[in-house]
Symmetry: C2
Subunit: 329 residues, 2 copies
């Protein structure tokens, strides 16, 4: 007879002793030492004739700020974390730059926090460059870097740890609306003290490139197979991308939502990083209504690696259904 | 103004040409050649003081048999596949053996279809041994192999491609009830023709080990931290495991469900591989009610890699919530 008790299923190791009836354990071999090392952080998939490589920059874990969601109470946020089987009072945010080999261009979309962040975060983020190497992708082989917006976790990886251009042969494409906003001295001057750092950081990063960038407008094919879609709100020029080949397409949403456990489930919630909360919410609802209706594959920069999913409606919000890992390609 | 049209989001590459106003495309560099190679198929995580390494054996893709679910119509099954954003008329079944380093033993739970299956399936399955090597785990370092049940995708990896024992230094632990069932000549004699192969296969595999196995009963600590739990129905002696350390535990369900998109969502459905459908369903409902109530972490041999999830109730069934990939350990 099967008997599945709480004792059996939960407390197995605690209630049954390894010792025999006389209380004498059998001698055991010393096991191999623990490896202590995670697999490399890349995942490869085909999209029509394109080859995508999602390359994680790592995960940040930090105490949940009281105002992490501007328009929700902390206990509501904790309830959402619990519903997602995550720890309360803690945020876990992944970062997922993506490489697209179009057949004619090797393109990196967003760059992570840069190898300079490795020391500062004890290896938590700044992993993208190392994972590119693990995936067999040389930084010098990248033809184009496309930037979605100018927050540090997207642009800082344009530089090496010592502040030099990391992708020496790449054209760097940036949203014209981002460039106009962040490089405007008047905008920087009237920004609150706490927001000054982001302006200075954008100037530091692009200054190291000699400000050599190609500005793009929304809704343009930037390279064959990758088209920009304006999705403002998170930042003034925040941009998503359609990656398409043949009859297959993927909507690369950048930061239309932050952590899905909170903001896909609760599209009305405004993360503290959304520069214009109501505009970001309006964008989010439009994008997600369409993703759900069209059943289009998508990728979220802040989704758990490898960050590719479909979106379904669920209650008053949505739910991400991760695409199954394919061990072959 | 943001304008998110269907045309923008879906058909990007089709509607915007890379050619300039004169119809002349800019010259493009030849991109790096496609890598064409997936990341290694292992994932590492800590559970208390234990180190787990999920090692995928690959994924089988095959046309949906009419009787894949014995007690559901094919169009109901296709509706469930569609709801999970999977292709209709096709089954995708992953396989996920798991290594546990307990600190005193290096333990492999189930073994996949074996490297002999690589040629036959064009590399689709039989990957476990290669992925063990990629994870830095030598077959000769495995102290113990624990088998959940005697179906080929769980036991065939006990052997190398040429039919020799693969884990030369390992004690092989098998459920006593499985041994009694599959090794009984009367049971084989009265099995229908189509079921004879499974009996012969079990005898082939364990015969190559000289039938040197340690038989275990349910609800016993097999090695420190790993306790067997009888979960019959899928096969007569089908066994799951509680892996536990300190206050952390994981329920390693083996085949309590097959593909979650069908059988976690519809626990009343009987997969064609369930040898006793009603008994398997009874086990499944008990296990899943408890997993949901206790919010216990679990792993499914046939879940998408890396196969670790939590279970929540949803409608008349359940839903798996995958644990987020941690790029560090």
């Amino acid at each position: 007879m099967i008997e599945l008790s709480r004792r059996n299923m939960l407390a197995g190791a605690a209630v049954v002793t390894a010792a025999g009836p006389l209380g004498i354990s059998a001698p055991v071999l010393a096991a191999a030492p623990p490896a202590g090392k995670q697999n490399a952080g890349f995942y490869r998939t085909k999209l029509g004739t394109l080859e995508l490589t999602v390359v994680t920059d790592g995960v940040r874990v930090f105490p949940l700020p009281d105002t992490f969601v501007r328009n929700a109470k902390k206990d509501e946020v904790n309830a959402a974390l619990r519903a997602a089987f995550m720890k309360p009072d803690e945020m876990v945010i992944p970062f997922n730059p993506t490489v697209v080999n179009t057949g004619s261009k090797l393109v990196l979309i967003d760059t992570g926090s840069g190898p300079g962040a490795l020391a500062q975060t004890k290896g938590a983020v700044g992993q993208c460059h190392g994972n590119l190497a693990a995936a067999g992708i040389q930084a010098s082989a990248i033809d184009t870097v496309i930037i979605s917006h100018f927050h540090g976790d997207h642009i800082n990886g344009l530089l090496t740890a010592d502040g030099k251009p990391a992708f020496t042969n790449a054209e760097v494409m940036v949203p014209a609306a981002e460039w106009a906003f962040w490089m405007d001295d008047a905008n920087m001057g009237k920004a609150p003290e706490a927001a000054q750092a982001a302006f200075k950081n954008a100037r530091r990063v692009f200054g190291a490139l000699g400000n050599k960038v190609t500005q793009y407008q929304g809704d343009k094919e930037l390279v064959p197979g990758i088209t920009s879609v304006s999705t403002p709100g998170h930042s003034p020029g925040h941009t998503s991308f359609v990656i398409a080949s043949g009859d297959q397409s993927l909507f690369w949403q950048a930061d239309v939502t932050n952590a899905p456990a909170l903001f896909v489930r609760n599209p009305g919630w405004h993360v503290m990083f959304d520069m214009d909360g109501p505009a970001a919410e309006a964008t989010r609802r439009k994008v997600y209504d369409r993703l759900a209706a069209d059943r289009q594959m998508m990728a979220g920069f802040h989704f758990p690696f490898p960050a590719i999913a479909h979106i379904e409606k669920d209650g008053n919000g949505y739910r991400q259904v991760p695409v199954a890992w394919n061990p072959s390609i």
